[in-house]
Symmetry: C2
C-alpha cells in the first residue's frame, strides 16, 4: 500500500483525458499538489491508503473549469451599465469610472470577489487581462487559485502607466517577479491591435519570448476593428499581429470573432490558443466566432467569460452551454459541438489554449490536483440515464448549474468544501464591494445630472465658455450681399465655404442647455468637399438682448471636437428629442472699423427656409458688447440689410418654432 | 386600518406594471388569492394591517415567471438523448420511449417533478402541451401552480388517443371538466400544421371558440416544415392555419422561427400570442425567431423553455438571458431587447401572450397573488448600482440564477418558503423518477444492442425474413445475355430498369448483420427517372453454399420502406463504417421450367467493376433450395454464362474485399 495525502472515492470520475476515461465508482489519489492516480474505487483501494479519505457520494469528480479570458477586477463594475453599444458602454461608462476609481485596492478587492464567484462555479484557473496585475496576482495567490494574469500594455495612458514605455517596464518587472510561482503564470497583454502601435506589439512579443510566458491579446472582436485595420494597413488582424511579432510567442487570442479560414490556419500553425467568449460576443452584438471551423482545423479553443461587466457573471457552465448552442444554430447542425467536446474546451483544451496543459486541464497522474465535485442529483438535473456514455457530459453542459458545484481543489488544496469557501472572507469583501459601488454610483449620478459634466466625462479638450453678439437678417437672395461685401469700408480677411449638418439634442431639463452635433463639410470653389470636421457644442440657455434692440448677446458655448459618432452621442446623452438643420454657409471674416466680424451668408436647405445673413462678433464684457452692438447695427445697414427683417432668434429656435 | 391576510414588506418591489413602477422599500398586500395593494412601505403600513407580516430583507419582490411553452412530463426524459438532429432525437428516441412508457402515472410524476423545478426557479404559471393533460392538470392543481394544460390532437395515434376523433373528444371533455378551476385554464393543442389535417385544425378551433379557451399550436419551428407546407399547399404556415380557422380562436403560437413580416402582422391582427423558445431553437439548430420584429409590430411575445428533453431544463432566467443575447447579436444591436423588456416578456407580456393578463403577470391590485422573492445579494450578483433605474432589471436578466429564487407564491398560497417546497415531496418523486429512468435505460440499452430491434423501434412495416438462392457471373458485356434471354425456353414475365444507389452500414459486431439503404431510381425506356423508392434491408450474416457448389443460400433479410433520410439512419444507427455501391440494373422476372427466377443484368458503376449477371429465386425450405439450385445451375448454362466465372460472394463483400 502506498500512502498518500488524500483519496477522493465513490465518485463518477470524468478524467477528461485523451481517452475520455470515466470511472464509476471512481477515485482520485492526491499527494501534495499533484494527482498520483486515477481509477476505479477497487483498484485505488487496493493500492493506496490515506488518512484523508473523502466519500464523494456519487457526485461528478472532474477537472476544474478553465476561464480562458476575463478581466476579474471588473467584478466591481458588474451591472454598472447594460444594454448599451460597445463604445457608449466603454467610453461613456467603463473608462470614466476606471480613470476615477481603478487603483491597487480596487484591483485586489475585485479579484477577491471574482475568485469567490469563480470558485463557487467550479473555476480553478483563469487568464486575466487588466491593470495592476501584480495585485491581481497577489490576491489570486492568497486565495489559492491558478491564474495567468496579463499586464496590459497600450498606446494610451492607463490607470497604472502614463505611457506605453512605462507599461512595458511594468509588465517586464511583473513577469520577472512571478515567473516561478507555483500558481501564477505571469503574462504580458498588448491590449489589441487597434490600441497598440506596431512597436508595442513587437516589444511585448520580445518580452514574452525572453521569459517564455504567454502573450494575451484581443483579436478581431468586432467587424469595425477588422474594417479599420484593413483600411489603415490593408491587412486582416491575424497577419497584422503576425507581422508585428506576436505569433512568435505563445499566443492567447481572445474573441477571434471576425477571422477567416486563412487566419485560423495561421493561428493553428503558430499553436496559438483562442479564448472563445460567447456571452460577451452576443451581449455586445459583436457576432459569432467561427468556432466549429477552428476546431475542425485543430486550433486549441478555450472558453472564457470575458469581464463580468459585459457578461454579467463568471459562470463557465452558462458559457459552455451558450458555446454549444451557438455552434449548433450557426452551423444549422444540432450535432455540432456536442457536450463532451464543449466540456473539453472548458477543461483540457482550455489548458492547451493557455499553454499550461502539462499542469492542468484533466485528471491524470502527474498533473496538479485542480478538480471539482458537482452534485448532479438536484431536481433540475434528474433523472440520470446511463445508456449513452456521453450522457454524463450532457448533464454537465445542458442541465447543471454553477450552484451545483460543491467542492473545489486547486494545487492539492481545498478552496471550497461543501459550498463553504475556505480561503476567502466573502462577506467582508461583499461589504467592501457594496461600499465602493455606492461611491461609484454617487460619482456617476452627479455626473449624469449635468449634460456638461457628462460631456467632460468622455474627455476631449474643451474651449472655455464664450460670449458673442449676433444679429440675423432674412434676405431674398444672396447676390446683393455678395456685392455689398466688396465695398471699400469692409476688408475681407478670410473666406470659407461649408456644408453644415446640425443635429440638436434637446433635454427634458432645459436649464441643461442644448447640445449641437455639427458636421461641417469644407467645400472648395467648385463645391467639392476638401475636409470634414465634427464638433460638439453645448449651447447655454441664457440669451439676452443688448440695449441695441436688434442684437442678441449669446453666452456660454462649450465646444469640443466630436471624436465619436452622432449615434454614440445620441445613445450616451439620451436627449428627449432631436432637431436637424442643414445649411450651406459662406463664411467671411471681415474687418469693419477695426473690429473683426464674421459674416455668414446662409442658405437653409433643411428645412427649406431660404437665405439669411448672420453677423457675429466675439465679445468679452458687457461694455464691450454694448459698444460692438452699435457697430454691428451700423454694419447691417452698410451691408444693405433691412433692420426691419432682423431675426433675433438663433436657427435652432427659428426651426423649432416652425416645426 | 384595513385588515388583510399577508403583507410582504421591506422589498424592492418590481411591479412590472404598465408604468414599470418600482417601490423600494416596498410592500405588497394580499387578501385571499389576490393582490390588494402595492406601494411604498410607509404608505402600506399606514393603511393596512395583517397578522402575517413578512420582512423580505431587501430581496426583489416581483411577479412570478410565466413559462409560455413547455412539455412538462418530458422532465422524465431529460438527458435521454442529446446532440442529435431533431428527427433522430424525436423518431429514434422520444417517440419509441413515449410509445412504451407514457401513461397517466408517467405524466403525473413528470408534472410533479417539473413543478418542483419550476417553482425552484421562480415560475408561477406555465402553458403545457402533451398527452393525458387531465393528469397534468390534476398534478398541477395538487401542487398549486397556475397552468394552461393543452390536450394534444394530431392525425397520428398518440399515447392517449388511437385516432384524432378520439383525441378531439378527449380534448373537449378535458376542457369541460376544468373550465372553471381557479388555477387551471384548459386549452386544446392541435400539435402542428404538419401533424394535423385541415379538418383537425378547424375542429380544434371550433372547440376553443365554443368554450372560449386558448388554442396552442407549434408554428414554423423549422425551415423544413415551412418548405414542406409551401410545396404541399403553396402557403406559408400562418396563412395556412388562418385558412383553417385557427386564428379565430385565442392563439398561442409556439416557436414561430421561420415566419415573415406579413405573417407577424397577421398574428398581431389576430391578437395571437407567441411563445419564444430560444434554447430549444438553438439546441436543435432550428434558427433564430424574429423576435425584435414581432415586438416592433406589437405582437405579444412570451418566453418558454420548451420541454426539458430538448433544453435541458425549465430555467426561465436562462431563457430570458438567451432571448436578449440572441436578439442583440442577430440585429447587430446591443441595445436591442434590453433587460426590462425581456423581463416583461417573461411576466406581463407572457401573460398577455397566454391571454391571461387579467389574472396575472404583474403586481397590481385585483390580480392574483402570483409572486416571487429573489435574493440579489450573492457574490455572482454584486455589487448593486442604483444610478440607472433599469439596473435592477439587468440584475435579474443578466446575473441572477434560478437558485437565487427563495420564495414563491401562487394564487395567494406559498409554494416555496426559504427554498423549501411546501406542496411537493421532492425526494419521493425524485426517487420514482430515477426508478423509471432505470427502466427506460434498460429498454433502450436492450434495444440498442440489436440493429434489428433499433430498426423495429423506429416503426414502419417490415417484411418477414426470407431465404433465396443466388448465383452471380462476371460478364464482359451485356449484349450476349440480352440475346440469350430471348430464347424460347425462357418466358420473360416482367422487365424493370433501375439505377440503384446502395449504402451499406457495417457494425462493430458483425453478428448484427449489415444494413443496406437502397435508393432505386426507376428508369423508363429512354433512361428517364419515373419514380424513386428507398428501402432499408437488414442482411443477416448467415450465407451458406448449397450442395450445388456454385449457388449460395442467403437468409434473413428484413426489408422496410425507408421513410427517413440516409443521414437519419446514419446518425441513428451509428455504423462503424460505410460502403457505397452504385449500379445500373436491368431486372427480368422470368419463368424457366415452371419456376420463377429474377435475372439481374448489372453494371457496377461505383466502384467501376464492370458487368455481372445475377440469377436469384426465393425459396422456402432446404429441400426446395437444393432442387432449385440445380435448375439454377442449368439456367446459367442455358443463358450462355460460364460457370467458371461464377462469383459466390454478394456485391457488398466483393466491393469490400476490393477496397
Amino acid at each position: 500500500m502506498i500512502t498518500v495525502d488524500t483519496i477522493l472515492y465513490n465518485a463518477i470520475v470524468l478524467t477528461m483525458d485523451d481517452d475520455f476515461r470515466i470511472f464509476e465508482p471512481g477515485a482520485v489519489v492526491i499527494k501534495k499538489d499533484r494527482i498520483v492516480a486515477v481509477g476505479n474505487d477497487d483498484m485505488i483501494n487496493n493500492e493506496y491508503d490515506a488518512e484523508n479519505r473523502i466519500d464523494c457520494h456519487g457526485k461528478l469528480l472532474m477537472p476544474g473549469f478553465i476561464n480562458a479570458h476575463t478581466h476579474v477586477p471588473m467584478t466591481l463594475l458588474r451591472g454598472l451599465a447594460d444594454d448599451l453599444r460597445l463604445d457608449v458602454w466603454l467610453n461613456g461608462y467603463m473608462m470614466p469610472v476606471e480613470r476615477e476609481f481603478v487603483n491597487p485596492d480596487f484591483v485586489r478587492l475585485g479579484t477577491k470577489l471574482a475568485c469567490a464567484e469563480m470558485i463557487r462555479s467550479g473555476v480553478t484557473c483563469f487568464a486575466d487581462m487588466y491593470y495592476f496585475e501584480d495585485d491581481v496576482a497577489e490576491a489570486t495567490a492568497e486565495v489559492g487559485m491558478r491564474a495567468l494574469p496579463g499586464q496590459t500594455v497600450m498606446k494610451y495612458p492607463t490607470p497604472d502607466a502614463s505611457s506605453f514605455e512605462e507599461g512595458l517596464e511594468l509588465a517586464e518587472n511583473f513577469i520577472k517577479k512571478w515567473k516561478d510561482h507555483p500558481l501564477i503564470l505571469p503574462t504580458i497583454a498588448p491590449h489589441a491591435p487597434y490600441t497598440c502601435t506596431p512597436e508595442i506589439l513587437q516589444s511585448c512579443a520580445d518580452i514574452a519570448i525572453k521569459y517564455d510566458v504567454p502573450i494575451q491579446i484581443h483579436v478581431a472582436e468586432t467587424a469595425l476593428e477588422v474594417e479599420s485595420l484593413r483600411e489603415e494597413t490593408g491587412m486582416p488582424v491575424v497577419p497584422y499581429i503576425k507581422k508585428n511579432g506576436i505569433m512568435d510567442a505563445k499566443v492567447i487570442a481572445a474573441h477571434c470573432v471576425h477571422i477567416d479560414e486563412g487566419e485560423i490556419r495561421s493561428l493553428q500553425h503558430a499553436k496559438a490558443g483562442v479564448a472563445h467568449n460567447p456571452t460577451s460576443n452576443l451581449k455586445l452584438a459583436s457576432g459569432f466566432a467561427p468556432i466549429q471551423k477552428m476546431l475542425d482545423l485543430k486550433v486549441n479553443v478555450g472558453i472564457g467569460t470575458d469581464g463580468p461587466a459585459s457578461n454579467n457573471d463568471l459562470d463557465m457552465i452558462e458559457e459552455m452551454r451558450l458555446a454549444t448552442f451557438i455552434a449548433k444554430v450557426t452551423t444549422s447542425d444540432p450535432t455540432a459541438l456536442p457536450a463532451r467536446q464543449t466540456l473539453t474546451m472548458a477543461t483540457r483544451m482550455g489548458a492547451q489554449a493557455l499553454h499550461i496543459d502539462h499542469l492542468t486541464g484533466s485528471l491524470e497522474p502527474g498533473k496538479r490536483a485542480d478538480l471539482i465535485l458537482i452534485d448532479i442529483s438536484p431536481v433540475h438535473n434528474s433523472p440520470r440515464f446511463k445508456r449513452d456514455p456521453n450522457g454524463v457530459y450532457a448533464q454537465v453542459v445542458f442541465a447543471s448549474k454553477a450552484t451545483d458545484i460543491t467542492d473545489v481543489m486547486v494545487n492539492g488544496k481545498w478552496l471550497m468544501r461543501e459550498r463553504v469557501l475556505t480561503t476567502i472572507d466573502e462577506e467582508a469583501y461583499l461589504k467592501q464591494g457594496n461600499l465602493l459601488a455606492e461611491k461609484i454610483d454617487k460619482f456617476l449620478i452627479s455626473r449624469e445630472k449635468s449634460v456638461l459634466s457628462k460631456l467632460i466625462a468622455i474627455g476631449g479638450s474643451m474651449e472655455e465658455e464664450s460670449f458673442e453678439i449676433q444679429c440675423k437678417v432674412k434676405v431674398d437672395d444672396i447676390k446683393n450681399i455678395m456685392v455689398a461685401l466688396k465695398q471699400e469700408s469692409i476688408e475681407i480677411e478670410r473666406t470659407r465655404h461649408y456644408h453644415e449638418f446640425d443635429t440638436y439634442f434637446i433635454f427634458e431639463d432645459q436649464e441643461q442647455g442644448t447640445l449641437r452635433y455639427r458636421e461641417d463639410e469644407f467645400l472648395d470653389e467648385r463645391g467639392q468637399i476638401t475636409n470634414v470636421r465634427s464638433r460638439l457644442t453645448l449651447i447655454g440657455q441664457k440669451n439676452e438682448k443688448t440695449p441695441e434692440q436688434s442684437v442678441m448677446l449669446s453666452r456660454s458655448r462649450y465646444i469640443a471636437p466630436a471624436t465619436h459618432s452622432l449615434r454614440f452621442y445620441r445613445e450616451y446623452f439620451q436627449p428627449k428629442r432631436e432637431l436637424e438643420i442643414e445649411k450651406l454657409r459662406k463664411r467671411f471674416l471681415i474687418n469693419y472699423k477695426e473690429f473683426d466680424f464674421f459674416v455668414n451668408v446662409d442658405t437653409i436647405i433643411k428645412p427649406d427656409m431660404g437665405h439669411f445673413v448672420e453677423v457675429k462678433s466675439r465679445t468679452w464684457s458687457r461694455q464691450d458688447a454694448v459698444y460692438k452692438s452699435k457697430i454691428l447695427s451700423e454694419l447691417i445697414e452698410v451691408l444693405g440689410l433691412s433692420p426691419a427683417l432682423i431675426v433675433t432668434e438663433d436657427y435652432f429656435h427659428l426651426v423649432d418654432r416652425r416645426n
